[in-house]
Symmetry: C2
Subunit: 240 residues, 2 copies
């Protein structure tokens, strides 16, 4: 039976981290809000009065009766099933890396919505400028130095975030770097120079046949300003 992915239509968003894993593994899945009836089915699960454990927010994955919420949790569930994660205790290492990516994604979101996710960007532009400046000056280099160091310290060599084979974390790292290039092109200009292993990982994921085919397909939406990674030139600046 096909996996059912529930996420908003019209943007890559957090759903994209799940899609990349499903696409790499060529797993059968239905992107419910896009392939079916819009967000109706998704909202009716979230607002359900009978579903035992409704999720707080999308994305969530339905596999038979089981509903798994949160990107990192979905990838934890899918990883071994898709051949994209180890089965031994090192799965907790992989999951920890994914949760670090999730934390950074939340911080990327907050660069354009530092005060209230319920309000428009235009209503919090000044605060967004301050938060984005701190993000580019402090948080982005802190996270990226860390991720580069993880590659450097990987005892199996620096081709993968963990172990000696592709995991879902590599795919998510690609998506994170790709989104940052879109949102902050000036800050990311010398990324490959500062973080050569991460840049090589990004390119290696990009070159994978199933990923390349997906990115060239209509299923891959463009980056846009409804997403987490938004390009507002006034928030971008060169890295220090």
């Amino acid at each position: 039976m096909a996996y059912e992915l529930y996420y908003w239509d019209g943007l890559q968003g957090r759903g994209e981290f799940v899609r990349l894993a499903l696409e790499e593994a060529q797993a059968p899945y239905v992107d419910i809000a896009r392939d079916d009836d819009g967000s109706g089915a998704m909202m009716s699960i979230m607002d359900s009065k009978t579903e035992p454990y409704p999720p707080f927010a999308p994305p969530f994955l339905k596999d038979g009766d089981l509903i798994v919420s949160h990107v990192a949790n979905i990838l934890l569930y899918l990883g071994p099933r898709l051949g994209l994660a180890p089965q031994d205790d090192s799965r907790f290492v992989v999951h920890g890396l994914q949760l670090t990516i999730a934390d950074m994604v939340t911080e990327v979101h907050d660069t354009h919505h530092p005060l209230a996710s319920s309000q428009y960007y235009e209503e919090q532009k000044e605060a967004a400028k301050a938060r984005a400046t701190d993000f580019i000056d402090h948080r982005l280099p802190k996270f990226m130095h860390y991720f580069e160091r993880v590659l450097e310290l990987n005892p199996h060599g620096g081709r993968h975030m963990a172990g000696n084979a592709l995991t879902y974390v590599d795919l998510s790292m690609f998506q994170l770097i790709d989104g940052l290039h879109y949102a902050f092109p000036r800050a990311m200009k010398r990324f490959g120079e500062h973080y050569p292993r991460l840049a090589a990982l990004h390119d290696a994921v990009l070159a994978r046949p199933n990923i390349a085919a997906y990115l060239a397909s209509a299923r891959r939406l463009s980056h846009n300003e409804s997403c987490i990674f938004r390009h507002y030139p006034e928030l971008d600046k060169a890295a220090r």
Copy 2:
């Protein structure tokens, strides 16, 4: 061998969610930064040039050679070992709930640090006021209505967040509610009236002998303004 918990000394912080699980289960653990040499050992793991997968940030747990980072991941790892989580696929439901708590904890932190975690609260007071207002008006009720509904919809009755037995999520929900009472006493004034099942869960956890003994011990630090849950009266207001 005792579990090793690595977290900052001097505050409850994110480490407290892990401590509550260890204390409830009476599991042997060393709170490294408190019991040993301050944060030196913790920093040397984080800054290690040889550790294969150093964590990005505390808390992290060391069990033999394995290092597990992130509260939710640590509880995922400890849960079945401590008898505080199911072993079947419903563990993904429990983990999803924990990740929702983690998201709310991040939002609580951002009420006093909306612009830059590297700067003092006093440098971002005005923005903090705006973010805290949105948190109290929108986010706190949204999360709490959700968690109350999870209790209501639990097919095993509303005594636990998931299933018919105590899990680490119940302990974390206690800590979340406890911290919110400290940080936002005015906003939380009618909490029990609005969220009776959550209030009952909070009280039931508080009454558990191992938890009560822990809370009465010197191991339980007081809430304070170095923590995630900070009481700044100017950020607090009555819930709408």
